[in-house]
Symmetry: C2
Subunit: 272 residues, 2 copies
């Protein structure tokens, strides 16, 4: 998917919501466990109920890997079921030496046909660039994450006062551009999103941490907005586990609608 | 596996060799492609031919994920086939927010029953500690990797002159200890291994980069040795692809023997 196609979807559907498919057999409604593939069944119903309210779906791969080959089959069926105009994110946080990263890239871009994959920056250039060599595919590089441990290393300053997450973004701007590179920037440190926006004015940000983790949509928009929106705001548990009855999909829809309506108002005010 | 069990194996077998099972359908001998599960068949023969020469096997997960659910099945069968006294490493380089890391930990420690998993440090404490909560299981934390991109961020100094990889090791010494935490320290920067050894005197190091990547075993031992050896030196391609004939397993054995004999001499000289 191109950045223009993504921007067009945001304008058309009046939303920049990404829904995280962190599907967990311990958390989905019990009646689904009678199906052959409960994970896929859950995802299918969530997708049916929410696809007009979001522009992206983001399965976190840990939740699928956990069930071994069955989990991988459920993941593959899920990706195939997502309508083609919706952006797909393999939240995998991979990264290895070049030769090996190219195999991870083939897994998520060729075998699974995701539009994008999240990548960890610690191993540097040759761990990231193999993911950038696929037409129409995207790297979403971890920059400033939403969790507690983000403070351990990401905020470390060099002698010039540059923090590690800033160095990651500045350095990676030479590896890709706004057509194939996004950044993960957590909503739990909203004011810092503004610092990231200064370094990466044109790239999309994938923003986790709104909702369950405490981040505010208003602050994310205030600090992270660019001329083309430039934001994919993710919610996972707050949507997919909004209800646990047989109507869980409609309860998920209601939760997603709340965010979509806020986003629609923001888009009307900010985009011409 | 406990550290004492690992040390006992090193002394008994006179080797601290780890063999990387980076098994690739494009590189294995062609006749194996006629088998039902060529990846497993290749691994089985490599394990049969080399198990007395090494103390650890390290499948890199990218090579299995690449084939989706079939790859995961081949990985599971491989781990089950490795004799229990040999240390197993899931080279996965995972790391996510706490809740999600605990699912990765369950995948590799419970579902697949690996002894250890490699973990990326970028997301900090809550991305690593969920892996440390399993008895007899190990985190092998990326510290200083062997690839070119290691220079991008890992060597970045803070105002006090501490490099990022040193900060990762110092900080993580509060998360685990020498009974459940090892570090990845690349052989391609041998003199730096000595800097790591000063910060982490008791932890095992997993050392990639000897052989194909140009690192020297002598230098690794010179700078990284501790009283209990403290080293697992990995070789992947140099061993498993040493030959491509029907006797590839014996050619792999010959390549592994060369390293094992060097290691035996080192152990005789250095361990009482």
């Amino acid at each position: 998917m191109t950045s223009q196609q993504l921007i067009d979807q945001i304008k058309k559907k009046q939303t920049f919501l990404c829904i995280g498919l962190d599907t967990d057999l311990d958390k989905i409604p019990k009646f689904l466990l009678d199906f052959d593939d409960p994970i896929y069944e859950f995802n299918k119903r969530i997708i049916d109920a929410t696809q007009d309210l979001c522009v992206a779906y983001k399965p976190n791969i840990a939740f699928y890997e956990r069930y071994g080959s069955k989990g991988w089959d459920a993941l593959k069926k899920t990706v195939d079921y997502i309508p083609k105009e919706i952006f797909t994110i393999a939240d995998a946080k991979r990264g290895d030496i070049g030769n090996t990263s190219s195999y991870y890239a083939k897994t998520f871009f060729e075998l699974m046909d995701f539009d994008s994959v999240t990548v960890a920056p610690y191993m540097g250039v040759d761990s990231v660039t193999p993911f950038l060599e696929f037409d129409g595919k995207w790297v979403i590089l971890l920059a400033l994450t939403s969790n507690r441990g983000a403070l351990d290393f990401q905020m470390t300053e060099d002698p010039a006062g540059e923090r590690l997450f800033e160095k990651v973004i500045k350095t990676s701007q030479h590896w890709g551009d706004e057509t194939n590179l996004m950044y993960v920037v957590g909503a739990t440190r909203a004011e810092t999103i503004g610092d990231v926006r200064k370094i990466a004015p044109r790239n999309f940000f994938l923003v986790p941490g709104v909702g369950a983790q405490g981040g505010s949509l208003e602050d994310v928009v205030k600090y992270g907005w660019n001329d083309d929106c430039g934001l994919l705001v993710n919610s996972s548990r707050g949507i997919i586990y909004a209800g646990s009855s047989e109507n869980f999909d409609q309860e998920a829809r209601t939760a997603a609608s709340v965010l979509q309506q806020q986003m629609s108002t923001i888009l009307k005010n900010r985009l011409k």
